[in-house]
């Protein structure tokens, strides 16, 4: 269900191909399908999440919507404006943040960076000083605003990026993995700002690898894989896809791939994710029979290899694993 009545973003059957070259002496070109007929709509004022494994097409989707990439076919529009035909008009109304530290002028101060980007977005000259200070306050960088960006921590740079993208009061915001690489406190602070922007009425499209983040922030989520939408709905909708499942977490030591395959072949096992934690592994086993699965699972693993055992309800992450069939 869309939050607003008006569609802020619309993708219709968008395909995007890239050419990749391999070889040194004999070069070969092959086409890679990044988006394969992707379609979805985002309502005005909605906080919309895009989830998917690496290479699923999340960043390509954002780049198409921010006019940085031209779709190979299909149409995409933001606030009713076509991202190819009306690119210049779209740019006035959107803001975007890509994860990572680059994209700032390191030898300038944070304040000077914001002043310059305000010029790029044609913020009226008289408004620039007050708008810059207001945003430095929002992202808690006022006290460090005169320092060169090269001395900023990753979290500070990311917050500055967020301030940078708000200078011209965009109606639609695209945040591509904005908390990637941030420490927990920095990430929490950034999420607080995103939530505040959402409450203020901004339409936000957020891509993230952190499922709890999507669960906490997003009104609706599209799970995409191989350039296609594989699920779309509220976090609760997606979780309901795994309401029949429970997750048994087995902490094990030195379990090999053959054993994991043997567990996977058990008829009550829906899927298994193996997480390596130093010398231990944690097997997350999705099953429909909950506690009754524990004994046969332990029996299938060699005695002495099992440590902690826990059974819990399925989460959004489990729904995601079921949808895309793997984790990174």
């Amino acid at each position: 269900m869309l939050r607003g009545s008006v569609g802020a973003i619309e993708l219709r059957d968008v395909r995007r191909l890239f050419r990749a070259t391999t070889g040194t002496l004999r070069r070969h070109t092959k086409e890679i399908v990044a988006l394969d007929g992707l379609s979805f709509e985002v309502g005005e004022g909605e906080l919309f999440g895009i989830l998917g494994p690496n290479g699923a097409g999340k960043t390509t989707t954002i780049k198409v919507l921010t006019t940085l990439l031209i779709p190979t076919s299909g149409t995409a529009s933001v606030l009713g404006l076509d991202v190819v035909r009306d690119a210049k008009e779209v740019r006035r109304k959107i803001g975007f943040v890509f994860g990572g530290e680059r994209g700032l002028y390191y030898r300038l101060s944070g304040r000077d960076n914001l002043r310059y980007f305000a010029e790029l977005y044609a913020v009226p000259p008289r408004e620039i000083p007050s708008r810059v200070e207001e945003l430095l306050d929002l992202v808690d960088l006022r006290a460090r605003g005169d320092e060169r960006v090269e001395g900023y921590s990753r979290g500070m740079k990311q917050r500055l990026h967020l301030a940078r993208t708000l200078l011209h009061r965009p109606r639609v915001l695209f945040l591509d993995e904005p908390t990637i690489g941030l420490d927990p406190i920095g990430a929490r602070e950034l999420r607080r700002i995103v939530r505040q922007l959402h409450e203020d009425g901004a339409t936000i499209v957020l891509t993230t690898h952190y499922l709890f983040e999507a669960d906490e922030l997003c009104d609706r989520i599209a799970v995409i894989d191989k350039g296609r939408t594989v699920a779309l709905g509220t976090p609760e909708d997606l979780k309901s896809n795994v309401s029949d499942l429970s997750v048994v977490e087995l902490e094990v030591f030195g379990v090999d791939a053959t054993t994991v395959d043997r567990l996977r072949a058990l008829d009550f096992v829906d899927s298994i994710v193996v997480e390596q934690r130093e010398l231990r592994q944690v097997l997350r086993i999705q099953t429909r029979i909950a506690e009754r699965a524990v004994a046969p699972l332990i029996a299938a693993v060699a005695a002495g290899q099992v440590g902690r055992v826990a059974v819990r309800a399925a989460t959004l992450e489990d729904a995601y694993v079921r949808l895309v069939g793997r984790v990174e």
Partner: protein, 260 residues
Amino acid sequence: MTAALRLAAQSAWVDFQEVAVSGFLLFAAVWQPFFIGVTTMYMLRHRADFDPMYVIVGTALSGIWSTLLFAGSGAIGHERWMGTLELLAASPASFFVVIGGKLAGTTIFSLVSLVLAYGIGAVLFGYPMTIAEPGWFALSLLFAVVALWATGMFFAPLAILWRAVGRFLLGLEYPIFALSGFLFPVLLLPGWVLPISNVLPSYWAAVAMHGAASGDLDLGGVLRAWFFLLVTGGVLLLIASRLFDEVLTRARRAGTLALS
């Protein structure tokens, strides 16, 4: 128009702060012309027809030329390296105005070569530095700087549109230096190179500045040099404006605005 000028001025200021601490451009604007100026002074100063002002002007032009060649051919690539190219491309601002402003910042910075060259002649070698036609010289310098900035603007999209051309551009530093007659008259070269020189803004910059400094050109000669200087620079700028649009469209099609 005012907004575009503001943006260009801001872009120039941002770039000036970046290039002023760039070791590579300091080499192009300061150390290389210093070496060229000093060695040329030593080579020529015992000749009967030696004119120290000729060396000073030539040294300054070589510094301005090298700085703008390097900065121009790397202007867009530098933004891509910094991760700011996507931000510039996805902003509503004119990419041409932004890069134009930034190269203007580099151009202003490159004038340090002129100050340095003057210092070599007046302070290091102690020659009296007199300009025969100061007014003409000032205008020649202004037009030269504008035309060389236009040359840098022409190189900026070329280096991105065709990477092989981009690598080749850096190799143009000395050939253009020689073909423009910065420090040695083009007449010393074979006659067939003169038509090539005639289409280079840098050649007409050298003709105008050398002529105004020495007083060897009459008004007609200076006006002719200014005319060709502005026409050749203008043509390059016109081509550049088309190429800038092409750069962005191609990059949006190919997905090459970012490094990864």
